[in-house]
Symmetry: C2
DNA sequence: AGTCCGAATATTGAATACAATTGCTGACGA
DNA sequence: TCGTCAGCAATTGTATTCAATATTCGGACT
């Protein structure tokens, strides 16, 4: 994930990171001219980066209208989380018997940094560390293609699950669940770990649904509201 | 999937279709100048299309070296087929209770065209119809995100499963399995259908493994062989 | 006042032009 | 004979320029 040798690659990574960090809310237009000037490149590599990110599901491009940060509806998020349950549980089952102490140490390390990020309310760090912790658990499965798919799913869903954590004060629960998950991996109880992981993801889904309900209620109570230009 | 309003979109679709049709073997270099001339566009939209296809897993781009048609090793194919088992079975379970007569009719139609394509040894049509048949069965699940993921997985794996079918004379078996699958959907036996689908995909995997073994043996027996330029 | 139309502006799409990198060829020397 | 390295050709990467489409804003008309 270093700067990359080509500008297109560098821009792709930079944009991906900034989107994942939540710098722009979902739906924010990504103007080619403005972004390319800001990044100090021409529009050509920027456009290529946007195409790639579109295929990754992070931005949505409408012909002749430009790109916006991808937006997921609640049913869409639920779908993707369900896919994550299927893939991540399967991979975890294969990973646990192969996990060495080294793997677990890496995961524990990430979990510690995750906890400190939670305490400092460092939202963007949270999302990254959460994904990295999950990935660390799966690494031993040695299924790179599947892991890449899972990573893409995280990239698409983490912005939303993170939002849920932040707004529902589930930080404690999230950390506790991660700790328990790691413990189950340590004692090689793959079945229990997979079941627990399933619940972990489904909990996030439930909390997110509840939050959406509340959000919808608020939006309904207050009449519609126009958004104005963002300042440069 | 019509010509698309922008050249980038049109080129993306055209290249995707030609790759899926097997026009170029895996590993074939896709020269920008040659392809853009052939398609009657400049290199700009072509490059954007290649980026998108790379994110879809259909081509591989190496910096400053160009794009090649994506190539999967046997373990990678096995991985992706396993993911397909997980996703497709899950979706099928949800689809069957919701399938109407209309859904089943569409699937039956595709199956018939699939059969005729098999008889005519129309390889490229085979692959498309196979994927479309599977998709038709899942349509009723109303999980568009998951279906899109499954479609991408088909795009990446179908070239290989098709090859396996062609070279192992499993055409009869493939058609028979599809018929049986459709029958199980008709009698709303979701559990059996999912189990059968699982076996269906795993059969393809086994046959493919066998073929790879044989292929490896041949390659080992015969010394290496240089490939020359393709004619324009 | 409100709505509809049209020119001006902003933004995206694509082609051309230019720069940088790769790899090929062949001469040179140990 | 083999390796090495200079220089050229081929290819990709990026910037600039031009064209097409969308949006905005102002004014005329109902």
């Amino acid at each position: 994930m270093q700067p990359a040798l080509t500008l297109t690659g560098a821009v792709t990574n930079a944009l991906r990171q900034r989107i994942l960090a939540g710098e722009w809310p979902a739906g924010t237009p990504l103007k080619q001219e403005a972004l390319s000037r800001e990044l100090g490149v021409s529009r050509v590599p920027l456009r290529e980066a946007l195409r790639q990110l579109e295929a990754e599901g992070l931005v949505t491009i409408a012909d002749h209208k430009g790109a916006v940060v991808a937006q997921l509806s609640l049913p869409e998020i639920v779908e993707l989380l369900r896919v994550r349950v299927l893939l991540e549980c399967d991979v975890l089952l294969e990973a646990i018997p192969r996990q060495t102490e080294a793997h677990l140490t890496v995961a524990a390390e990430l979990l510690a940094r995750f906890e400190s990020a939670l305490q400092q309310k460092d939202i963007s760090a949270w999302g990254i560390l959460n994904a990295q912790f999950h990935m660390a658990l799966y690494q031993a499965a040695e299924r790179p293609q599947t892991l890449a798919l899972i990573e893409q799913l995280h990239n698409r869903t983490d912005r939303y699950t993170r939002m849920q954590i932040l707004l529902t004060n589930f930080s404690d629960r999230a950390h506790q669940e991660h700790s328990e998950l790691l413990a189950l991996c340590r004692c090689k109880d793959a079945i229990s770990a997979a079941a627990y992981l399933r619940q972990h993801i489904l909990h996030a889904e439930e909390a997110l649904e509840a939050w959406y309900q509340q959000q919808a209620a608020e939006a309904c109570a207050r009449p519609k509201r126009r958004t104005r230009k963002r300042s440069e």
